[in-house]
């Protein structure tokens, strides 16, 4: 790979890995969700995200040109080779925590895909346009839940406010461009994260206001996921997710 291809590969891993890890996290609710309807809804969102991850990682493999397909990239890389944003690997916590994590991601994911639907790269445009329809539903659903819990009972309000307070420091990373984002923005391939951040802030302000939640003060933001520096949680997620294909590499569905 030349330098540009290397950057595209990194960029696609970030898109794919964030979707994949969040999808894996959400899947852990199956069999444990508070009500049947939420279990189905969570499973649907998880499947959407894993499906999108498959497309992004497939593209990454094509650009790398080393014979790795989406499965190979998903199951045979270690934590330091993963490029997901840290928010995606936060534990599920209670249902308010899962919903807030989802909302903060969806509110970023939607404007991101909107921009990518106009990418200079046709393959990225196609995946983004297809994913956008799914994510439009995700963000509507998670926004409604944030409002319902925030403006609900005392207990639901306290729990979702606590989730917002705890997760806030993991939101800066996905909205802050680094040199890969910058280089690919100049070639018209990547999304303009400043504009994504603008849309994100606007939606988060609107929804939290309606939910009677208080946005935490500007504080220090965690970062590193996009460069492969992860929290202690990712190793456990991968251990569970990758066990079967690593133990039985020839296993077929």
């Amino acid at each position: 790979m030349n330098k540009l291809e290397q950057q595209q590969f990194e960029y696609l891993l970030r898109l794919g890995d964030s979707d994949l890890i969040l999808g894996q996290r959400l899947s852990a609710w199956l069999g444990h969700a508070p009500v049947l309807e939420e279990e189905m809804a969570t499973g649907n969102v998880a499947l959407d995200l894993v499906g999108q991850a498959r497309s992004w990682l497939g593209l990454a493999g094509e650009i790398e040109g080393a014979g790795r397909d989406a499965d190979r990239l998903a199951y045979f890389r270690d934590a330091f080779d993963y490029r997901n944003v840290l928010l995606a690997e936060r534990p599920n916590g209670d249902y308010a925590y899962t919903i807030m994590r989802q909302f903060l991601y969806d509110a970023y994911h939607y404007p991101l895909l909107e921009r990518l639907s106009a990418s200079a790269d046709e393959r990225i445009r196609e995946v983004a346009a297809k994913s956008l329809k799914e994510v439009q539903y995700h963000v509507r659903r998670s926004s409604e839940w944030v409002i319902r819990m925030g403006d609900g009972t005392r207990e639901s309000h306290d729990r979702i406010q606590a989730a917002l307070d705890d997760l806030w420091m993991y939101t800066g990373e996905m909205l802050t461009p680094d040199e890969v984002d910058q280089a690919l923005l100049e070639t018209g391939v990547a999304a303009d994260l400043e504009r994504v951040a603008g849309a994100w802030h606007e939606r988060v302000r609107e929804v939290t206001a309606e939910a009677t939640l208080v946005i935490p003060d500007e504080s220090w933001m965690q970062q590193g996921g996009k460069q492969g520096r992860h929290t202690e949680h990712l190793g456990y997620i991968l251990a569970e997710m990758q066990f079967l294909p690593r133990a039985y590499p020839d296993a077929r569905w």
Partner: protein, 94 residues
């Protein structure tokens, strides 16, 4: 938890069907959630083109005890059923 959530009846119009058909019920606290849940529970395999959700409490149903009164009288009047006509062969759907 779900015992506090009202029940809603779900009607789906499929891509092939002309009218909405009752497919089942879901629990939800409000209309938006009912619509989302109906979508998530009943249209995961591309079944739907349109969804109606109705609070179950709003549906007025006939009482099982009224079955004879409501439905039996039409049974012994064969002239109510259009079985004495010959359907022209050009008519496809009757």
């Amino acid at each position: 938890m779900s015992k506090d959530w009202p029940l809603w009846e779900v009607f789906i119009r499929s891509k092939h069907g002309l009218s909405h058909k009752h497919v089942g019920s879901i629990h939800a606290t409000d209309a938006e959630m009912a619509m989302n849940n109906a979508r998530d529970v009943y249209t995961r395999r591309n079944e739907g083109a349109s969804i109606w959700v109705v609070p179950s409490a709003q549906i007025v149903s006939s009482a099982p005890g009224d079955k004879e009164m409501l439905f039996d009288p039409s049974n012994d009047k064969v002239y109510r059923h259009p079985t004495f006509y010959e359907v022209p062969s050009d008519v496809e759907n009757m």
